[in-house]
């Protein structure tokens, strides 16, 4: 297990400076939001529903708003208010050129990370070398 963690951290370290686990997860959610927004202009509730439809069930929907606020501050997304047929005004998000570039970078980082992790997992589970410390679990 330690080998995996070290390798993963190394992998990220090469792409970007060392990140903590929470930052890493946050970054992943950021990337997913950018990808969904790029596809189509969306408002908050729609965005949360989409994330859930892709399998992210356990997160609190409201967590997307602080992330969106930061992305707006960093000029990755812009917003427009539109009146819906149901009544309430909805805030729609769309990507800026800077946001599209950030998404490209995220995809690159993610592919790199994914390839390395997969490689590690395949190697570690296929080879049947004796493992010294399996006391946990």
């Amino acid at each position: 297990m330690l080998v995996i963690i070290t390798l993963v951290l190394q992998g990220i370290g090469e792409v970007k400076e060392n990140l903590s686990t929470t930052q890493m997860l946050k970054g992943i959610l950021d990337g997913c939001l950018l990808a969904i927004i790029k596809d189509k202009e969306v408002y908050g509730y729609e965005l949360a529903e989409k994330l859930e439809s892709y399998g992210f069930h356990s997160f609190s929907e409201g967590t997307i708003y602080p992330l969106l606020m930061r992305m707006q501050k960093e000029e990755l997304v812009t917003t427009t208010l539109k009146k819906s047929t149901a009544g309430p005004r909805r805030k729609y998000y769309s990507l800026t050129p800077k946001g599209e570039a950030e998404l490209e970078m995220f995809i690159e980082r993610w592919n790199y990370l994914q390839t390395n992790v997969n490689r590690v997992l395949r190697h570690e589970s296929n080879s049947e070398h004796p493992k010294g410390d399996e006391t946990d679990e």
Binding site: S60, G62, M69, G87, P88
Partner: protein
């Protein structure tokens, strides 16, 4: 704010608490309205689809409020405005009632103490409101806390008066011209602040606290009679003003 949106009491309460929390954290008021409105729409649609509020904001409203607050810039300018309004507002009461008695003179301790009490009062309001909105204690506890915050500056002022009697600090005397200038500046400040805050309460309270004594002094009434009448005018006047402005705002609300 979409006031026509039908929301559960729990969601409505959360939004009110969030607004109060962000306000006492000194965030820009238009940014507060923006995020509150966005969450209101989200909660509205979530409730329509039968989702509980916990699915949106998680198990701890406090943590969620902190998370939102961390992403918002602090509005120092309007903070400074509010602080100076409270500090100078409380100065103006003292200055006017002292002016009616003659030239101004204050000890250094009085001036510093005044500023200190203003700062403590503001800090107490900010932390108190933040606590109420995030931890959501029982109504009884909320009442006790608010009462304690309101009593705090009064207790400190009483303490300051005592301290001023026992501790000798240099006293600054203002001549009659200087006193008049200070009075003029204070008057301008009160009028300006009233325009800015769009309420005449400060002006009316100051006038009702200082003018009755002064005007009654011009009448041939005995000193005892003046002492008896003056507080009635003051408190009656403040009560009348509050009652009038309440019925006025009710009429406008309809």
């Amino acid at each position: 704010m979409n006031s026509e949106l039908k929301l559960s009491d729990k969601s409505r309460e959360f939004l009110d608490h969030l607004r109060l929390y962000l306000f006492s954290s000194g965030k820009h008021s238009d940014e507060i309205e923006e995020i509150v409105e966005e969450l209101e729409v989200h909660l509205f649609e979530a409730e329509k689809n039968g989702k509980p509020i916990e699915k949106i904001i998680g198990k701890s409203p406090k943590e969620y409020m902190e998370m939102v607050s961390n992403e918002m810039a602090t509005d120092y300018r309007s903070w400074i405005k509010t602080i100076s309004l409270i500090v100078f507002g409380s100065f103006s009461f003292t200055i006017f009632s002292d002016l009616m008695k003659g030239d101004l003179s204050y000890s250094v301790l009085e001036i510093v103490g005044h500023l200190f009490i203003g700062a403590v009062f503001i800090a107490a309001i900010a932390t108190g409101f933040k606590y109420i909105s995030a931890a959501n204690p029982s109504i009884k506890k909320q009442g006790l806390l608010v009462t304690a915050i309101m009593i705090l500056p009064i207790a400190l002022f009483v303490g300051l008066i005592y301290a001023n009697r026992t501790i000798d600090t240099p006293v600054i005397h203002f001549g009659s011209t200087a006193s008049l200038i200070i009075g003029g500046i204070t008057a301008l400040f009160i009028i300006g602040a009233s325009f800015w805050a769009k309420t005449w309460i400060l002006l009316i309270v100051v006038a009702l606290l200082t003018l009755p004594d002064f005007l009654l002094g011009l009448t041939p009434l005995t000193h005892e009679a003046q002492l008896m009448i003056s507080p009635w005018i003051t408190f009656g006047g403040i009560g009348l003003y509050l009652w009038l402005s309440l019925s006025w705002s009710r009429k406008n609300g309809k």
